[in-house]
């Protein structure tokens, strides 16, 4: 707590920050602990694989191209499904949110369907349309659709009427009101919805691939376990974590930062009532 003063005095000559160095040390420590625990536990690799086994499995999966293919499959499925859920969520959120009647009409049923988690839909979807991409697409866009819809709705309903009246007095058309007031004002909420949905969707994707797909990271993890190739299971889990962190850092956070920077201030000023 008290060392914060020292940080400011220290010249910033290092190209990585102290937090990053410490974080790297933390990751190395976990790897080391893993190796030590392998020596102590001393069980067959199919039960508790060592870092070396996992690295070997990783090399093999890279060489025969399976890992790249599965990564591409998972990312593509995720992108298409999240994109579908997001756009549908925004469209319906705006449509319903702009009318008091529709939001009263549909509010409770939306809440009910939001409560039926996507995981629970997968069995029924398997009965209806079988295994494969359509089932995954529906289940994953479902889990993005509802939080986005719900938050868009909240965003639209909490806009200060005075903002809309102001632009209208200036002669804005309905479309202009939508694009210059409602959408920007609802954007932080939409982002919140996307964030919640994207997190659930990623885990949902892994689960859906375990049950309803023949490729992808979820399939790799599941198939590795049923064929007793536990090293592959661990490769799949690590890749999953890395893929999520990558998406989080490169995609979600920049978007979030952009919307907050761009619109957050506007909202803070107009938010006094």
């Amino acid at each position: 707590m008290t060392d914060s003063v020292a940080i400011h005095l220290r010249p910033r000559t290092l190209w990585i920050s102290r937090a990053q160095r410490r974080g790297t040390a933390g990751i190395l420590a976990v790897l080391l602990l893993w190796q030590i625990s392998v020596w102590i536990i001393d069980l067959p690799p199919y039960f508790y694989p060592a870092p070396r086994d996992v690295l070997a499995a990783f090399g093999e999966l890279i060489r025969n191209g399976i890992l790249i293919e599965y990564l591409a499959d998972s990312s593509w499925r995720y992108a298409v499904s999240v994109g579908t859920g997001l756009s549908l969520g925004i469209i319906f959120g705006l449509l319903i949110g702009l009318s008091g009647f529709w939001s009263r009409l549909l509010g409770s049923i939306i809440r009910f369907f939001y409560a039926i988690v996507e995981v629970a839909w997968i069995p029924l979807l398997v009965i209806w349309i079988g295994y494969g991409f359509p089932t995954i697409l529906i289940a994953i866009s479902y889990v993005v659709f509802f939080p986005v819809l719900y938050n868009t709705l909240t965003g639209v309903q909490t806009i200060q009427p005075v903002l809309i009246n102001a632009v209208r007095t200036l002669g804005a058309s309905r479309f202009q009101v939508l694009t210059s007031v409602i959408l920007p004002a609802a954007l932080p909420n939409i982002m919140t919805g996307l964030r919640v949905g994207a997190g659930f969707a990623f885990r949902g994707l892994i689960f859906a691939e375990m049950i309803a797909a023949g490729s992808g990271l979820g399939f790799l993890i599941f198939d590795g376990a049923s064929t007793r190739q536990t090293d592959r299971v661990v490769v799949g889990m690590i890749m999953m974590g890395l893929l999520w962190l990558l998406m989080d850092r490169l995609l979600l956070r920049p978007i979030e930062r952009a919307t907050i920077e761009r619109w957050g201030l506007v909202r803070a000023q107009g938010g006094e009532s």
Binding site: R22, T24, A25, W121, L124, I127, P161, R203, I221, G241
Partner: protein, 263 residues
């Protein structure tokens, strides 16, 4: 354009009534569609058949047994995960070096927490209760600890300095600055960890369970008993709504009042 705020006197009653209409429409469509569109019974059983299954399974106690098994497991995983995660999270976050060292590790484990552990859990603990409990507790632990650590780290530093300059002891700081300051994030963690834990429970039971609502729902697919699948979905939805209304809405109301709910 905006939700109209007129007619407040009849709004509550009519809103509740309007809200029921889509359920009636959905129910009517469900009842009529199979006959009109020729959807076979094994794909979309009639509401009557689902209701029949419901009464049968209530009568022989199997439905309540599944529900009870799931809820018990969720409660055990939730308590276990949070009771370790929150104190540990606070302890980690108190020390800057420790929290900087562990943040990347925690965020990595948080991102793979849950369903991805199911296959490994089956290898370690076999199919059954142990695996599912491990997966839920793991999910809840990482969701909650991450939130707690973030909560402490986002407390404005000036609050620490202010209390230190007033002669606060370490314990004073923990009880007067850290815990109240992180409380909102801890509650967020309690809530998100429940949402993640619930999904992990249903998914875990589907793959590794031998009982519970998730097991009941996926097991029925093998026998093409769509009526049990649909019943399972409704039960899953209703249980979540109940938990949300009974557990989280009151907590949120209290915290909003007490802490003025931030931002």
């Amino acid at each position: 354009m905006i939700a109209r705020r007129s007619r407040p006197f009849m709004r509550r009653g009519s809103a509740a009534l309007t809200g029921i209409l889509p359920f009636i429409a959905l129910f009517a469509a469900w009842a009529l569609l199979p006959a009109l569109a020729g959807i076979p019974e094994f794909k979309l059983p009639s509401p009557g058949k689902v209701l029949n299954t419901f009464t049968n399974m209530m009568a022989d106690g199997s439905l309540m047994a599944h529900v009870w098994a799931s809820l018990q497991r969720l409660a055990a995983g939730y308590l276990l995960g949070n009771l370790i995660a929150i104190p540990l999270g606070l302890a980690i976050a108190l020390n800057r070096a420790v929290s900087e060292t562990l943040t990347p590790v925690l965020s990595f484990f948080q991102s793979i927490a849950g369903i991805a552990w199911v296959p490994l859990a089956i290898i370690w603990f076999g199919v059954g209760k142990g695996s599912v409990l491990f997966v839920i507790a793991n999910t809840i632990f990482f969701a909650s600890i991450y939130s707690t650590v973030i909560g402490v780290r986002t407390i404005p530093r000036v609050l620490f300095r202010a209390s230190l300059s007033h002669g606060a002891s370490r314990w004073d700081i923990i009880s007067n600055v850290v815990i109240p300051g992180a409380m909102v994030q801890i509650l967020v963690g309690l809530r998100t960890s429940m949402a993640y834990g619930w999904r992990a429970l249903v998914a875990g039971e589907m793959i590794a369970g031998t009982d519970g609502v998730g097991y009941m729902t996926l097991e029925a697919v093998q026998w093409y008993q769509a009526e049990i699948v649909i019943l399972g979905m409704i039960v899953i939805g209703v249980l979540w709504l109940l938990m949300d209304a009974l557990l989280f809405t009151p907590i949120e109301r209290v915290t909003v009042r007490r802490w003025g709910m931030v931002r």
